[in-house]
Symmetry: C2
Subunit: 381 residues, 2 copies
Amino acid sequence: MKIIHTADWHLGKLVHGVYMTDQQEAVLEQFVDLVANEKPDAVIIAGDLYDRSVPPVEAVQLLEKVLFKINVELKTPVLAISGNHDSAERLAFGSSWYRHSGFYLQGKLAGCFEPVRLNGINFYLVPYAEPGVVREIFQDSSIQSHDEAMRRITWEIEKNIDPNEVNILVGHAFVIGGKTTDSERILSVGGSGCIDSDCFSPFTYTALGHLHSPDAIRHDTIRYSGSLLKYSFSEAKQRKSVSVIEIDSKGNLAIKEKSLTPLKDMREITGYIDELLDPAFYETQRLEDYLKVTLLDEGALLDPINKLRAIYPNILHLERKIDNIDLEKRQTLRLVQTERKTELDLFSEFYNEMTTSEFTEQKRELMTEVIDSVRKEVLFV
Amino acid sequence: MKIIHTADWHLGKLVHGVYMTDQQEAVLEQFVDLVANEKPDAVIIAGDLYDRSVPPVEAVQLLEKVLFKINVELKTPVLAISGNHDSAERLAFGSSWYRHSGFYLQGKLAGCFEPVRLNGINFYLVPYAEPGVVREIFQDSSIQSHDEAMRRITWEIEKNIDPNEVNILVGHAFVIGGKTTDSERILSVGGSGCIDSDCFSPFTYTALGHLHSPDAIRHDTIRYSGSLLKYSFSEAKQRKSVSVIEIDSKGNLAIKEKSLTPLKDMREITGYIDELLDPAFYETQRLEDYLKVTLLDEGALLDPINKLRAIYPNILHLERKIDNIDLEKRQTLRLVQTERKTELDLFSEFYNEMTTSEFTEQKRELMTEVIDSVRKEVLFV
């Protein structure tokens, strides 16, 4: 059996204020061609189809167009789950109808413990879920972390699994061994967002989404396909591809990466402004790419962004090396400070970042009470 | 052939700040039972399935549940169009898949000129569309009003219609002969929102949505089913029902109304506060109903709303007769004033209503220029 594994399309994504929809459409056209050529038995999309719970209309139309081509025109079964960026309820509307055409879209945990069976292979579609949701479903107050939640889910699946068959799990999670990029939200405090890869030992293959690089975990049977496109400059050096997996009836895997070529690459360039504005340099460059430019110059520069944009129209971010040094200093300082902070200080900073109103003495007192009462609860439960 | 015709569900509707989702769910359960008992060959939903383009998640879940029961469990074909309250693109996501199960959901005009054929009957599903959209599609600048737009659409349909067959149009529009209620937006300036009923003469039956009363038009072959529930106090005296239509092969119609019973009625009561708080009166009342209360008392009253709510918990609106008289006076005055206003005055009022910033002298000058230039354009084109 041949499967194409992709994830993290993030349709409707804005990067530094620029909608990626055109870029996404161009790469998805290549993806549809790939499906047409490879003729896989199934396509897996491991979550974050959209970038947010209410995506823009253009993103909705693009997703429908692409899925229609793959599932209806090319008659390829599609197995998809919702990720942390999707609204499970909104995305999954209509999934009962989609199944008739072999489009299996799992938004909620209910039902994810039963496999979708295709060509004798069992697919377990496990959408992203907060530990609190899993705790509710199983009425098990011991489930606090993502690891505990996923462990409970896979245990439920294992109860009825036949280890002599090929069993594939599709998930959207932060599995340990991976490295994060700054386009992912910071998931964890003290590691509670991470899941140990041994959760997935019952499965022949685990097709993951969430981390954006295919190198995020190195494991024989657990894999991130990586995102469709580079979605932040921290991903500038990542390969972007989809995975083509061949599985024989004994569960042996052969994995290939197929790269997709964006219209515009996303990359960083560093130098002195005069170098960057020198034709000898810029004539070697793909000028339309999305760029983060770091200038090495010290001292005042007159309107550098507009001078640079005259040559490189798609600069998304400009910074000065000198700023970076400052920033690094500040971050080091911040790290040192963070370690010493009380819950109240942390909340007060959070409040100031998220609102425009003052964190008054009255609010401080109220919050102190809340923190104290939570402490007591934790002690007495 | 038997058809059930409904429209204007407005799922996710807020009435005076209260979500109607529970009420809608209760009535839709009755609707599903009706479908199960009547066993129609099709269910028509003539637009405004949702109340807004991005409905709350509860409304999304309710719609999916109800449609699943009707279309998948009861195996009843469903013919639905988007109304002016729906987002055509968001609602119609997945419609290509739904067709496989006999759920025909038309969001856009493209494709609406070809009928859906069920049991030898042709259904033309014409979603709500602004005249500008129809103008674009047909590249016909003469299309300015809703009447011209619908005339162009039905003319396109008529080209290929067989008048010896039974042809049904499903539409969402303000057809003349109807009377509006204040839960509808005012559509028209100088009648441009209205459509003459003769547009629909080629059709055996025209199943409409948009106006909320089954009495909105009196015509042998054109009908509003009316909304699912009362959605404003101006609808307090309307019957709420769905229409059961039987059509024989010669196109003869037999129409019955089937009423649905809400958990809470929506109605108005008027009286002096002492009367309304008198057990002799209120013991004859369904106290849980949604109420608009008009008090006849003059002079000061101490906290009347809380006194009344102790008996009638679901008062949505309280007014004093005395206020009404004032209001009527003010409205008459306003009407007189409106007639004399310049475009600039009207815009300035609009600006003040819509923004919190001042309509400064500079803005006034700018707007004067804009108005003048538009005037010139109108003169010279």
